[in-house]
């Protein structure tokens, strides 16, 4: 039941997310792309749950919980970053350079 299109859609969404993370410099956009990747994975879980049972659905709930927590922490970090630097451009954030 629409397994092929579902998986195809999730693959496209995931790739879009990866591309966004790799290419964009704005931290907010990168963050949103990560969310996109997580939701692509959720779609895969839901689609495959039809074949392999309910554990896929349960996994989705876990992912959503983690995503919510990550959104809270991630946005707080970005906010703190912006207060310090007046910018959310990731190229300027390189304090960890060795």
């Amino acid at each position: 039941m629409l397994l092929g299109p579902s998986l195809g859609l999730s693959a496209i969404l995931f790739s879009l997310g990866v591309a966004g993370v790799l290419l964009r410099r704005n931290a907010i956009v990168v963050f949103m792309c990560i969310e996109l990747m997580l939701n692509a994975v959720n779609l895969t879980f839901v689609a495959l749950a039809q074949l392999y049972g309910a554990s896929g659905y349960i996994m989705v709930f876990f992912v959503m919980t983690v995503a919510a927590a990550e959104a809270a922490v991630g946005l707080a970090i970005i906010l703190a970053m912006f207060r310090h630097r007046q910018s959310v451009d990731l190229q300027n954030i390189n304090l960890l350079r060795g």
Partner: protein, 657 residues
């Protein structure tokens, strides 16, 4: 259970004394009364135990040694060594000598060391020395004996450097310790060979198996005995390792009497006597032992001729007399060597304690007048017989004993050794040479002893006007032991009266169960009747000649106090500087070792290789690796993500394959 099983008490008592005195030295160094009670007290107790053991053996002489196990000590693979004591005729004799002479010297020390701030420390060391010495003579196996062997070396070091605030004393201690290490190396190697050859290290087993396992005169037994003898040359101050003993005189005089004359330095003689079977099976080693002994006897005696320090003369005399003992045991006259060991313990302890009495008087006199003259230099003495009559009489007695005047103890023991060397010459002609060297050494012995007595006690007093009135005899606690030793020096010969004076060689027969296996392998036909008498006559004549020459040469010309005396020249200087052997060793060994230590080991190995390559190199390598790793950390999130992605894909590929 016989009384001999309690022999461990003889070791335990001084050990207790060491602990008590050591504790007092740390906490209450001023409790001299208690120390004076405990220090000599435990020794007298140990002497009592020794007498008890000896009496029991006397009543029922065992043919087999009695082994008293204390506890199992080492059990490694096939090697099993118990901490056990061996009671037999030989160890009983040594037990009596060590505790007997030790007791007298402890008593003497009470007077001699009374004013020393390290009084308690001194007695704790002295007690500890007795503990190790008894372990040495009682040990039933090579490793147990080695504990004592090392322990007495340690105590010797501690006591030589007793006044360690003076660098020369501390150096003398180190010298003794290091030279003994060289000898101990020989002992250890010998132990290894013995274990390889016999699979056991117990004396009784080794002696029983040796004639069955090894070929007489073979390489193995020769190597074992030569390495053992290397140990003996270190401990008993024989050529080439003798130079530490004269320097050891830096310690307190009773220490010189106990450790460096009567007991510790005779450990080598005891070792050869104990392992007589092995030495009897190795004629080459026995000849080396006798040759080194004869050479040392003669060589040290010549050095003794021109020393001015009273204790140094006695020190070289000790080296020389130890040479006699090795001549005896090397010849195969094991009992004669042990006999000379015993009589020498009496008269040499007496001589040292007498010199201690003299130094005590001189030191007090100089101390009272704040003079800085040397209290041990015989040129500052002279005419002391009027001030120290007891000491003079007793030291004269000891002088006659050491020069071998009948009927004093030294006559019998020295004569027997020389007679044995002469007898051995019958089958091994080189022993005639050793005999001649022994006789020459006897002449020199008489000469330097006469010189010592003449310079110290006879002639005009050279101490100084003010000091003269302050010279006086030591308290009875010091002269008392001297009197006892004097009596022993006088009658000590009775222990082993030879046949030609109607005796029955009691000590030889007593030691026979221990010495018989070696004597059987290395048979020695002692001269009888007229030959024996003639040899004795020659020895006495030589002794008298030496004494007369010595007194005449010394008293025949005036002696000046040390400060005014002209410097020695020519042969006298060479003898006074001990043939420059110390300088030779310094140039041959000490300086090269120091140079190698500094230039190769310190600057080369330590600074360049250890510090440079290893320590700093390791730091440099890790810093370089860290720098390389740091290049990966760009700080750019994007780069991390790419790396992460590549890694994730790589893992994915590996999983899916």
């Amino acid at each position: 259970m016989s009384f001999s099983h309690w022999v461990w008490l003889a070791v335990a008592l001084p050990l207790g004394g060491f602990l008590v005195n050591g504790a007092l030295a740390l906490r209450r160094p001023d409790a001299k009364g208690l120390v004076s009670l405990v220090g000599p007290g435990v020794l007298l107790g140990a002497f009592g135990v020794s007498v008890g053991v000896f009496r029991e053996l006397l009543g029922n002489p065992p043919h087999e040694p009695l082994i008293v196990p204390i506890w199992p000590w080492l059990s490694v693979g096939q090697l099993s060594v118990d901490l056990a004591f061996q009671v037999d005729q030989l160890s009983a004799v040594m037990l009596l000598v060590v505790t007997g002479v030790g007791s007298l010297i402890h008593l003497f020390s009470v007077g001699y060391m009374r004013e020393d701030p390290g009084y308690a420390r001194y007695f704790s060391y002295l007690n500890l020395f007795i503990v190790f010495m008894l372990v040495l003579v009682l040990g039933s196996s090579f490793p147990v004996m080695f504990i004592g062997w090392e322990g007495v070396g340690l105590c010797s070091y501690l006591l030589i450097g007793f006044w360690f605030s003076d660098k020369a004393n501390a150096d003398a201690g180190k010298k003794a310790f290091i030279m003994n290490r060289i000898g101990d190396f020989g002992f250890l190697v010998a132990m290894y060979f013995i274990w390889r050859a016999f699979g056991t290290l117990n004396f009784t087993d080794v002696m029983a198996r040796a004639p069955l396992t090894l070929a007489p005169g073979g390489v193995i037994v020769t190597a074992i005995t030569l390495f053992l003898f290397l140990g003996c040359t270190g401990k008993s101050a024989q050529i080439p390792l003798y130079t530490w003993l004269p320097d050891a005189m830096a310690g307190p005089t009773p220490v010189s009497a106990l450790i460096h004359a009567a007991t510790m330095v005779t450990a080598g003689v005891y070792l050869v006597a104990r392992t007589n079977v092995l030495f009897a099976m190795a004629p080459l080693s026995s000849t080396v032992v006798a040759g080194i002994g004869a050479l040392t006897a003669l060589f040290a005696a010549t050095i003794g001729l021109r020393q001015y320090d009273i204790k140094r003369v006695l020190a070289y005399s000790t080296v020389s007399q130890l040479g006699y003992m090795f001549l005896g045991v090397g010849t195969g006259a094991y009992a004669a060597g042990v006999f000379h060991l015993v009589t020498h313990a009496f008269f040499k302890a007496l001589l040292f304690l007498g010199s201690g009495s003299v130094i005590h008087a001189m030191h007090h006199a100089f101390h009272s007048t704040h003079s800085h003259d040397d209290a041990q230099d015989m040129r500052n003495m002279g005419g002391l017989r009027r001030h120290l009559p007891w000491t003079f009489g007793l030291m004269m007695l000891a002088t006659l004993a050491i020069t071998g005047m009948p009927p004093l103890s030294g006559f019998y023991s020295k004569d027997e050794i020389l007679a044995a060397a002469f007898a051995r010459g019958g089958d091994t002609p080189i022993f005639y040479l050793f005999y001649a060297m022994g006789v020459a050494a006897a002449l020199l012995t008489a000469f330097y002893m006469a010189r010592l007595m003449a310079l110290t006690f006879l002639g005009e007093n050279r101490t100084g006007e003010q000091e003269r009135g302050l010279l006086h005899e030591a308290p009875w606690i010091m002269t008392g032991p001297l009197v006892v030793l004097g009596v022993l020096s006088l009658v000590g010969g009775a222990l082993n009266l030879p046949h030609f004076v109607g005796g029955n060689a009691a000590m030889e027969r007593w030691l026979e169960p221990v010495m018989e296996p070696g004597m059987r392998l290395n048979h020695l036909v002692m001269p009888e009747g007229s030959t024996d008498l003639l040899l004795g006559g020659v020895a006495v004549a030589i002794g008298v000649l030496g004494l007369v020459l010595g007194f005449r040469a010394t008293l025949g010309r005036p002696t000046l106090p040390a400060r005014q005396a002209p410097a020695d020249t020519g042969l006298a200087l060479v003898l006074n500087r001990k043939y420059y052997v110390d300088e030779l060793y310094d140039g041959l060994f000490v300086r090269p070792v120091e140079w190698i230590s500094r230039m190769v080991l310190w600057k080369g190995v330590d600074q360049t290789i250890v510090d440079g390559v290893a320590v700093n190199g390791a730091a440099r390598v890790s810093r370089g690796l860290g720098w390389l790793g740091g290049r990966l950390q760009s700080g750019q999130v994007g780069v991390y993500v790419v790396v992460f992605l590549v890694g994730a894909l790589w893992v994915l590929r590996a999983v899916l394959r």
